[in-house]
């Protein structure tokens, strides 16, 4: 039965072929974007134990951070900042802010208050109070998280967003939006090097407004 023998050779060849193969399921776009990855949980797990203590320890008074950054950016970065080793991301600084609210924009979803820290009546920083928070300053200020440990930009982005979501739920949502101007503000947080002529866009991790 030459035909049969031929067939069995083919079967054997196919089986050998299969033995050398590993079947890998091709993930759908959605699966590869999420795939068991839970950034909200990851952030919640390190928030109290690492994120807040790190920024609290690392932060300098905003006026000092800003003036050192203006005269020597690298020195300010080494002392208060963080950035990825490669690439072109700007420094993100940890800072402590204490002052008086001189302006409040609360109609926009990306609401903010402007704070005078040195008592000259002019704003020294713009503090984001959510619910829409721009950028990824909290993530980018931390020296213990690294893009290279994430699968791709999508996961890295979701992780960055999770910090904003977390601080929003924990701190910012509880903030009263009424008559903010004139009140005192105390905050610890982070901001990336602002564009020339712009105020630091500060994202708090701790915030109190009163008096």
């Amino acid at each position: 039965m030459p035909g049969m023998r031929g067939a069995s050779v083919i079967v054997l060849a196919v089986m050998m072929g299969l033995a050398g193969c590993k079947i890998i399921k091709t993930p759908t776009a959605e699966e590869s974007a999420t795939g068991g990855f839970d950034p909200d949980r990851m952030v919640a797990e390190i928030w109290e134990s690492k994120v807040v203590p790190y920024l609290d320890k690392r932060a300098g008074p905003l006026s000092e951070v800003a003036s050192l950054a203006a005269s020597n950016l690298e020195a300010a970065g080494a002392k208060y900042g963080h950035k990825e080793k490669q690439g072109s991301a700007p420094w993100t600084f940890a800072a402590r802010l204490s002052g008086t609210i001189v302006k409040a924009e609360t109609k926009s979803r990306s609401a903010y208050v402007e704070v005078d820290a040195d008592g000259d009546g002019k704003a020294d920083a713009r503090v984001q109070i959510g619910p829409a928070i721009r950028g990824t300053a909290i993530r980018d200020s931390l020296d213990f998280v690294n893009f290279n440990e994430f699968k791709n930009q999508i996961e890295w982005a979701q992780y960055g967003k999770a910090f904003n979501t977390h601080v929003n739920g924990l701190v910012l949502e509880k903030l009263s939006r009424d008559q903010l101007v004139g009140k005192k503000l105390e905050a610890v947080g982070a901001y990336p090097v602002p564009a020339k002529g712009q105020l630091p866009l500060f994202v708090p991790v701790e915030l109190t407004v009163g008096g």
């Binding site: 776009a29 080793k85 690439g87 721009r134 950028g135 690294n146 290279n148 699968k151 791709n152 999508i154």
Partner: protein, 313 residues
């Protein structure tokens, strides 16, 4: 059939390798592989990489894979066969390309990726990519501002297999979805293509005449969309793109497209060649494999400074 084809290709690659054995005096070769140069973004990458390679004394082999992973695989074979010392690659898909880059690595040819990531580390030496998420957020913030935080809009998506299509869409929505009065009435892929951008926009506009804005995953689709909108007499619709091409710069200056986001394509490609050169010459790898390059918002205020995917001051 497939096996035969593959064997033929292998034989062909071997033939190429033998046929073009490099004479001892020839300069080292760097292969530069990107998607089609029809999109000026990829052309700028190839031109930037080639200029830097020549400046550093290399010969270059410039190839295009047309976003076809099979073709990319053949081109990698060609590069290996030609004895390339390094491959500069803007890849044809974040999953499908892993095997191709691995193949080059196994053959002793290091790859330096630009623009698009692959979903693996330790295979390429470098992955220098635009921070698409940061850029998309800039574009979306500008879009929301131009829209006055409310209104119906359309999103044109890039090619699905390209991770950058997903990441830009995510960046857009992480900003836009914070504004409940912004309503997306249509979301379609136009595969990064200008002609598809045009035809998709035409169809969408017929079904949704009440749109106020269009946010596009890249500039070529935005160019297609603005052309369709203008042909329909809809000069009121706000269009925002992504890439920072000269075409969109000119459209911004003449009051067409409102904004885009510059990816430093030229600088990125040059940086990849420099890292390839350092690796070839000294074996030194960059401190981190994955490297993000920040993007810059382009609108009427700074469009004048934009030239071939770089800002001049």
């Amino acid at each position: 059939m497939k096996l035969t084809r593959r064997m033929t290709m292998a034989a062909f690659a071997a033939f190429l390798a033998a046929g073009s054995a490099i004479p001892a005096y020839a300069a080292d070769l760097i292969a530069i592989i990107t998607p089609s140069h029809d999109n000026p973004f990829f052309k700028a990458e190839a031109v930037g990489a080639e200029a830097k390679a020549k400046e550093l004394g290399y010969e270059t082999l410039v190839l295009v894979h047309d976003d076809d992973a099979n073709k990319q695989s053949q081109l990698i074979d060609t590069a290996i066969g030609r004895g390339a010392k390094a491959i500069i690659l803007d890849n044809a898909g974040s999953e499908a390309s892993i095997a191709a880059v691995q193949k080059a690595k196994d053959a002793g040819v290091p790859s330096f990726l630009i623009d698009r990531e692959i979903n693996a580390t330790g295979v390429a030496v470098s992955q220098i990519v635009s921070n698409n998420y940061q850029g998309a957020q800039l574009g979306a913030e500008e879009f929301v501002r131009l829209m006055g935080e409310s209104g119906n809009y359309v999103e044109l998506l890039g090619r699905e297999a390209d991770l950058n299509a997903g990441i830009r869409s995510k960046g857009y929505h992480d900003v836009i979805d914070e504004y409940p009065e912004m309503k997306m009435v249509a979301q379609q892929s136009a595969n990064w293509s200008q002609t598809e951008g045009y035809s998709k926009m035409e169809t969408i506009l017929q079904a949704n005449p009440d749109i106020k804005g269009v946010i596009s995953g890249n500039d070529t689709m935005a160019m297609g969309a603005i052309a369709a909108l203008q042909a329909a007499g809809r000069k009121d619709v706000i269009v925002v793109g992504f890439d920072g091409s000269n075409d969109v710069r000119d459209s911004i200056k003449s009051g067409g497209i409102k904004a885009t986001v510059l990816q430093p394509a030229y600088a990125q490609a040059q940086m990849a060649v420099q890292q390839a050169h350092d690796f070839i010459a000294t074996g030194k790898k960059p401190a981190e494999e994955k490297q993000l390059m920040d993007c810059v918002l382009i609108n009427a205020e700074n469009a004048d400074q934009l030239e071939t995917f770089a800002l001049t001051n």
